[in-house]
Symmetry: C2
Subunit: 83 residues, 2 copies
């Protein structure tokens, strides 16, 4: 059952499962627009390039963004000076 | 001057300019990995598909994500019930 018939959203099913930041290749955030009235968040997994739509309201996203930011600080302490 | 020679990061120049959420087509967040030791945030603009790398440490990102979330709530109040 598509969420909306009049629009061209990318996501049909939205997962509330959590995503391991280490398995994540990238995260795409697509703002609401004329072609889709809701924000879409698409996680692409490293393993097989699987794309998974995430609920922007979920804690998953907040945790994920937090984890990604921590990762940066840990692995590349020079970022701040270089920026 | 590339930020690092041994890695294949997508971003060479990182902008600290703010981005209007209405001009934004999508935002990509790429976690740190073996091929690039830092988080990369790539904004694709609606106008000409221009890609702009943003500083993950900047307020721009936080404001942008906030604005995108607000946008959703305003335009699609049903999201919560549908999810």
């Amino acid at each position: 059952i598509p969420l909306s018939r009049n629009t061209r959203c990318t996501c049909i099913n939205i997962s509330n499962r959590s995503v391991n930041p280490r398995s994540l290749e990238k995260l795409e955030v697509i703002p609401a627009s004329q072609s889709c009235p809701r924000v879409e968040i698409i996680a692409t997994m490293k393993k097989n390039g699987e794309k998974r739509c995430l609920n922007p309201e979920s804690k998953t996203i907040k945790n994920l963004l937090k984890a990604i930011n921590k990762q940066r600080t840990k692995r590349s302490p020079r970022t701040q000076r270089e920026a």
